[in-house]
């Protein structure tokens, strides 16, 4: 990724995440490489089970005990995967903020939201509880939470989905982190509220020079916000590149398939073409390219080992059937 030549803020190399489950082991993330620079919005896109959430949770050490992660995840040079618990704790909520998919279950139902946000502040800053609560109200105002001063005392179940997500964002940004990891932030919200939250993220990103890792399966969300896109399939990167390239000149058949399956306002007559089949279960390592079984361009050599990432213009693509544009034209004929 040649977006800039400065040292990346978040540098993931060869990340593997395995879960020990009943009956065996699931290899959820199989060698992920990812870089995020300061102020960059990197979208990580994939279906459920692609490993996108697991990779970020692994970075912060938030996975269950039956998970193990190997490889390297560096925040500004600091290795996170093998960091001491105290180091990890100071980074969580401090240098890296995280928001989750379902704000209803992600907030403690028996604590006022003011307390929950204040807790984020107190954990990392030396302030009195009173000051933390004032800061909490400030943060709520920053995320455009209506009537912040009065409603800070509400409980999560008294708020709407959009408001809860704002609370989550306020909590995550309480200590001015350098990166915000947003795990499907709008998936559980209505479409109109989605737009509001995305707007909020956009403005926050600008005002605070915030890097965002946006995990989602929704390409529509990506288009309006991301600088770079990393498409994951079956635990690995299929393609990653600048957002414009990904959308207009996808190189990986999977990426193309994802884009093709999107309904488009400007082409209302076109049939939706979903990608046939289902993603692999990852109990055993796939033979060759994981996408091959569902790929209409597959050739025999696709099954001879995992394709390595190759450079195509400004993107990295893991496919042996290149260049894609020609192949697609061939098949269409």
């Amino acid at each position: 990724m040649s977006m800039s030549s400065t040292r990346p803020l978040l540098d993931v190399r060869d990340l593997h995440v395995r879960f020990a489950v009943r009956g065996g082991q699931v290899h959820a993330v199989r060698g992920l490489d990812l870089t995020v620079h300061r102020g960059e919005v990197a979208a990580v896109v994939g279906e459920s089970g692609s490993g996108k959430s697991a990779s970020m949770l692994a970075a912060l050490g938030l996975l269950d005990v039956n998970a193990s992660a190997t490889g390297s995840v560096r925040l500004d040079g600091v290795e996170l995967l093998r960091a001491a618990p105290s180091v990890l704790r100071s980074i969580r909520g401090g240098r890296i903020g995280m928001i989750f998919q379902d704000p209803m279950t992600s907030l403690n139902p028996v604590l006022e939201i003011r307390r929950q946000i204040a807790e984020a502040v107190i954990t990392h800053q030396q302030v009195s509880p009173r000051q933390a609560e004032l800061k909490a109200v400030e943060l709520l105002e920053m995320v455009s939470f209506p009537d912040a001063a009065r409603r800070a005392r509400s409980f999560p179940h008294e708020l709407s989905g959009g408001m809860r997500q704002r609370v989550m964002i306020a909590m995550a940004l309480a200590n001015d982190p350098e990166i915000l990891i947003a795990d499907e932030p709008t998936t559980a919200l209505d479409v109109t509220v989605q737009a509001q939250i995305l707007d909020l993220l956009r403005s926050l990103r600008k005002s605070r020079e915030l890097a965002i890792v946006l995990i989602t399966h929704d390409l529509g969300v990506v288009a309006g916000l991301a600088d770079s896109v990393h498409v994951m399939y079956a635990g690995r990167i299929a393609e990653s590149g600048p957002v414009v390239d990904i959308f207009h000149r996808p190189q990986h058949p999977y990426t193309a398939g994802l884009l093709a399956s999107l309904p488009r306002l400007d082409r209302p007559d076109r049939d939706l073409t979903p990608i046939g089949g289902v993603p692999p279960r990852l109990y055993e390592a796939p033979v060759g390219c994981a996408f091959a079984p569902r790929c209409q361009y597959a050739i025999p050599s696709c099954l001879e080992g995992e394709p390595a990432l190759q450079s195509v213009n400004d993107s990295l693509v893991a496919c042996v059937v290149l260049p894609f544009a020609e192949k697609a034209a061939e098949v269409a004929r």
């Binding site: 009943r22 009956g23 390592a285």
Partner: protein
């Protein structure tokens, strides 16, 4: 690169150990109940030595106030406590299942009546109800049996009723109804087998509780009467002769082993049979 790490609790070493231990203990007591008369060192009712002797080589668990061998009496006690307890469970489960199944399956008025009865019976703490009934009927193990069955059946009625109601709506039951099978037949062949598993698990786990209740009633003077070597009655003796600790300890430990054994067996049964149970 597949690394198989089995998480199946049925084969977890601790579970296996406890289930096997439970089975050994249960089988042991079963053997005692049926064969003790042939290999007991002494007899439970006759005086065989000096009074109130502490444990020794001749009397492994000492002697009691009437010079009877405590070890023998403890073993014979199984013959008093265990058959009654099993009878209580079997009866309670049978009655409870019958009433609960009918209530759940038929619904309506019948269900209402049965459930009222269940609620009212369960509204009493068991001991008080058992005591009241036992007092009304008079002391003795047989009357204690009746008292305990009265106390215990509602639990199973409620359990089975719930199960039957859940199963009743499943597709293959509707199918059976649609081809004209009689309600009785449906109940017997389809609904009941599916509903019975939780009752079985519960019953196994309950055996210990019934044993304790039997002993408790005897302890209070409402179950077995002296000179019966029933465990609860023995503990009453032991309470009187406080400093001769072996008299009370032996039956207590016996109860402990039985309760724990069936507890383990019940857990094992639950793991093996009930796939939906979370642990």
């Amino acid at each position: 690169m597949t690394d198989v790490t089995p998480q199946n609790t049925w084969t977890s070493p601790w579970r296996r150990f406890t289930v096997i231990a439970g089975m050994i203990v249960a089988v042991f007591w079963l053997i005692v109940v049926f064969t003790i008369q042939w290999w007991a060192p002494y007899t439970p009712l006759e005086a065989v030595g000096k009074r109130l002797q502490p444990p020794s080589w001749e009397h492994w668990l000492g002697t009691d106030a009437l010079s009877r061998d405590v070890f023998t009496r403890t073993l014979y006690g199984a013959r008093q406590t265990l058959p009654v307890s099993f009878a209580v469970i079997v009866s309670a489960v049978s009655i409870g299942t019958a009433l609960g199944a009918i209530a759940g399956f038929v619904g309506g008025r019948v269900d209402g009546v049965v459930m009222r009865l269940v609620d009212v019976t369960l509204a009493f703490p068991p001991i008080f109800l058992a005591m009241a009934v036992a007092a009304a009927l008079g002391p003795g193990l047989r009357n204690a049996f009746f008292a305990m069955v009265i106390v215990w059946w509602p639990i199973y009625a409620r359990l089975i009723r719930g199960q039957v109601q859940a199963v009743k709506h499943r597709d293959h039951i509707q199918a059976a109804v649609s081809i004209g099978a009689t309600r009785w037949r449906i109940l017997r062949k389809h609904v009941l087998p599916l509903s019975f598993t939780p009752a079985l698990i519960n019953a196994t786990l309950d055996i210990g509780q019934v044993v304790i209740l039997t002993a408790t009633l005897s302890f209070l003077g409402l179950g077995a009467k002296p000179p019966s070597p029933e465990w609860g009655a023995m503990i009453t003796d032991g309470a009187q002769f406080f400093y001769q600790w072996w008299i009370a300890v032996a039956p207590g430990v016996a109860i402990l082993t039985v309760a724990m054994a069936f507890n383990f067996l019940g857990d094992g049964l639950r793991d093996a049979l009930d796939v939906r149970a979370k642990r």
